[in-house]
């Protein structure tokens, strides 16, 4: 299966800017399906970015994060060609991991 994580990490020398788009329903447990039954909550809880063996950004999410979440941040200390590892886990034990090269 294709990765649920799409990432763009670009370095401008000093600072690396990271943009991530993750495919995930982020169901908050309040919505009903076509039959009028509640869709149980299903959302990403933890999202982690590692670069050169160090956490550079960690997100704890609740149900109020939009469907197919997007997040953008920047960090220092990386250069072009370095690996950025992204991983998430959700409240149902699902997870995904991907590694991106910083461009």
């Amino acid at each position: 299966m294709a990765s649920s994580i799409r990432v763009r990490a670009t370095s401008n020398g000093d600072i690396t800017e990271v943009q991530v788009l993750i495919q995930h329903p982020m169901d908050n447990g309040f919505m009903k399906d076509a039959k009028g039954e509640l869709i149980p909550a299903h959302f990403i809880q933890e999202l982690k970015f590692e670069c050169n063996g160090k956490d550079v950004f960690v997100a704890d999410w609740g149900t109020a994060v939009s469907k197919d979440p997007y997040v953008k941040f920047s960090f220092k200390g990386a250069k072009k060609g370095d690996d950025l590892k992204i991983s998430w886990t959700d409240n149902k034990g699902g997870s995904d991991t991907t590694t991106a090269k910083i461009a």
């Binding site: 908050n28 160090k54 109020a64 886990t89």
Partner: protein, 163 residues
């Protein structure tokens, strides 16, 4: 810091942690649970995400209160056509930022997202949140052990929490 990413080991670790917490609670004779922990803590702040009001959520997450600061720039739309996807971003000129959190006051649970900002990461985050209705959005920045906040009202035309 563990580098485990698989669901199995992580879930197990959480179970063990929860188990340990409940054992500790029983041991204390069911004292009121006071989840006062720093946001820099490694664990997912389950309790803080369960709190309904913004004040309770801030207390559960950080264990202290915030003061307004003009060094935080909270970017949110004046009017959100679709409460399901509201782009919100925060940047700050404060020093020694360790975490940034987003609260939506009128949502079923106020805490929306909490980000740890390790040393070397720029204290600036953009993300998209759901909003139930017209309400205040608050960004809390933890810098040098203190809490600072910025608030902005967003008018929501169609809510993002069903119903």
């Amino acid at each position: 810091m563990t580098t485990t990413t698989g669901p199995g080991p992580l879930a197990t670790r959480r179970l063990i942690l929860q188990g340990a917490a409940s054992v500790a609670l029983i041991g204390l004779g069911n004292l009121p649970f006071a989840p006062v922990r720093a946001a820099a803590n490694d664990k997912y702040p389950e309790e803080a995400f369960k709190q309904k009001s913004e004040a309770d959520a801030i207390k559960a997450l950080y264990g202290k209160t915030a003061e307004p600061s003009d060094k935080i720039k909270l970017d949110a739309p004046e009017i959100a056509e679709n409460g399901g996807v509201v782009p919100i971003s925060v940047t700050t000129t404060l020093d020694k930022v360790t975490s940034i959190s987003f609260f939506v006051a009128e949502n079923p649970s106020a805490l929306a997202a909490s980000y740890k900002i390790p040393d070397g990461t720029v204290p600036s985050v953009a993300n998209r949140l759901k909003m139930a209705k017209t309400t205040n959005v608050t960004a809390i920045v933890e810098a040098d052990g203190k809490l600072y906040s910025a608030t902005k009202e967003v008018k929501v035309t169609v809510g993002g929490c069903g119903g």
